[in-house]
């Protein structure tokens, strides 16, 4: 007798916990053969709000953590991804990918994670400055994370798109709420499990499944979200997000790249969700001695 397979219940990820949606609703995206992928959580607006609360709560300690430590945690994500490679490949194939493409996508996701892990304690040095003001002050500018970032993951990939636009955000000390690809949600849910076992504190990344159409608005009108990163290609939806963002002057970034290309990653994606802070302090200027004696 063949063994009866244990099927997975796909959950969402909020504040380090794996609840089903509070709404009790689900949807069933289909694979290429028209077979349901599973009963995926159809997250509600309330789930989005809960996730934003979790992200805000996690922001303080994540942004103030040593950059080196954030780098270690991102590297740990890569390690965990490597260990669960086969699962991701299987899910990508289940969602319509070829074996070769699936392998490439997972490998690149791991490489990209290592890439951003390395940036954690370097972008600050590259992009900050000491400013030679003309008065007797010491003046410097540093980068600080923008805050809570709403992320709308690319629709056309299950893993690489999500990884590519989420990592630069948390690399820079932001926390985020991610809406996964509507029709390719499996890897997002499994990726949440990777995050959960990678020392990423609960609330730093929150991942919801559901329809963009329903969740966009709550995310982009919410007064405690500081920025939106849009990975989709629906220009009307983007316009709506930009209009909603006016409520609290959210920064909106939209990327349309082929995430499967090796060079679809860079420093300037990190700096997009950073603010520049400039600090002034007077320099005591009394007495006659100078540095040349």
């Amino acid at each position: 007798m063949s063994r009866l397979e244990i099927l997975k219940t796909y959950k969402i990820y909020i504040g380090g916990q794996f609840p089903r949606t509070e709404s009790g609703r689900f949807y069933s995206p289909l694979d290429k053969k028209g077979k349901p992928l599973g009963n995926i959580c159809l997250s509600s607006r309330k789930d989005v709000r809960n996730a934003i609360v979790a992200a805000r709560k996690a922001f303080g300690s994540w942004s103030e953590r040593a950059a080196f430590n954030r780098g270690q945690i991102l590297y740990r994500i890569a390690e965990m991804l490597e260990g669960r490679k086969e699962q991701f490949i299987a899910e990508l194939i289940q969602q319509g990918s070829t074996k070769k493409n699936a392998e490439e996508e997972v490998n690149l996701s791991i490489e990209r994670t290592v890439y951003y892990a390395g940036w954690c304690d370097k972008y600050q040095q590259v992009l900050s400055s000491v400013n030679p003001v003309a008065s007797s002050h010491f003046n410097f500018s540093v980068l600080e994370p923008t805050g809570v970032v709403g992320i709308l993951a690319p629709q056309n990939t299950s893993l690489i798109g999500l990884v590519s636009i989420m990592l630069p955000v948390i690399c820079g000390g932001n926390t985020c709420v991610v809406i996964a690809s509507e029709n390719l949600p499996l890897c997002a849910v499994t990726f949440a499990e990777v995050l959960n076992s990678s020392d990423v504190p609960g609330g730093v990344v929150n991942i919801l499944t559901g329809t963009n159409k329903e969740l966009n608005e709550t995310l982009s009108t919410h007064m405690d979200v500081n920025a939106i990163v849009y990975g989709g290609d629906d220009l009307e939806a983007l316009k709506q997000i930009q209009e909603n963002s006016v409520l609290n002057v959210k920064r909106v970034f939209s990327y349309s790249k082929d995430w499967n290309k090796a060079d679809s990653q860079d420093l300037y994606m990190i700096s997009d969700t950073q603010e520049i802070k400039t600090t002034w302090h007077p320099i005591e200027n009394i007495g006659g001695s100078s540095s040349s004696y």
Binding site: N139, N226, K239, Q242, V249, K277, T278
Partner: protein, 489 residues
Amino acid sequence: MATKKKNTEHVSDWNYSPSLESTSHLNLKKRYDLFIDGKWVKPSSGVYFKTINPANEEILAEVAHGNQDDVDKAVKAARKAYTDVWSIMPPAERAKYIFRIARLMQERARELAVAETLDAGKTIRESRDIDVPLACNYFFYYAGWADKLEYAFPNRKVESLGVAGQIIPWNFPLLMAAWKIAPALATGNTVVLKPAETTPLTALILAEIIEESGLPAGVVNIVTGHGDTGAAIVNHPDIDKIAFTGSTNVGKIIQKALAGTSKKLTLELGGKSANIIFDDAPIDQAVEGIVNGIFFNQGHVCCAGSRLYVQESVADLVIQKLKSRMDSLYLGNPLDKNTDIGAINSKEQLETIHKYIKIGKQEGAEMYQPKCSIPTKGFYCAPTLFINVAQSSVIAQEEIFGPVLTIQTFRTVDEVIQKANNSPFGLAAGVWTDKGSRIFNLSSKLRAGVIWANTYNKFDPTSPFGGYKESGFGREGGLHGLNSYVKLS
């Protein structure tokens, strides 16, 4: 100046003799046209509006009201200049034009300072020592970047955007024009700039300087007018970039108007900045910092330190010293070199400030104003402070943009960080303490774009300026200010 003193308790008997800056050196025209494509052209509507001296309500000049057609003409000129000349000019040559503008401004600095004081109501000391020299320095600073842009963005090719539409406020008219025009030109863009309707004169003198500099026609166009002129710039389809400095409300309208377009946007909006005094601060210096933080430029400063937080143990002392310092402030003719507090920029703004003072009283806060005589003509507001203000109070939450300070007290560091960050704005903050470690703690936890530690309201072309949260996005000044005017590939 102040003559009749009723309350000798607060005001000393002696006064400085007036020391008026002469206006003889300034030759304002009776009427100014629009500066488009290197020429002075009449507004297509034929309409002119008057700009007055807010210190005495006398008319200074008539200024053209540019409408949509004029804006379109200016954008066409800017596009042509961009395509034909400015974007293909070797960057080092571009730099030389900008250096030349900086030098010409320095040469005409006195004239610019007097014009600024007359048109804006700000004190001549400030125009002469801060606004005008800084404006020159922004041009001088950004000129040198023109041929070095690759060094600012590692691993990237840097390109200009095209035509930049720029809308500036009335609180630092010439300085804001410099903040906008200098980096735009250095990065290879051409410009259509609209000065504020109450303060167009120094931008028009700057247009004369630009004309004199030989800058190719159409690279900089100055279109004066009202809100409709600004809206025409924002909504013009052939503009690639909008830079706006002004109120958060108007900023939001602009952000919404640009939704769904590919126009790049920077917003430098309002603020309600916290100024925090700890018990170990050098109190006398801190009091000077409080005064400079809120009464500089009559409080018409987006980053004004308008929310004062004083540690409870020194609150009585700080408030007493602050009141006594306020008693010695001179309010009056902005052209007088003794004057500390000049005129409110417009009647409309004075009414706004009075509205908030009334709200403050209604909310039950305790108000203090020194006994100073207010000139009968012109728009003036005595320096004002409110004690016993609640965090939720309207006057502690909303931007007043006038010489009105609210005072709250605190006990612990954590408490004051929470109170300071409890605002939709995030433009600036001040911290006064002798303890270095505490400065670094606060400067990293306060969610604001500029932190002044043991100082306040300092500006420099090398120093990036701009806000967090609803105070806007993008930076002006310094290397980071270049980013607002380039695309990277």
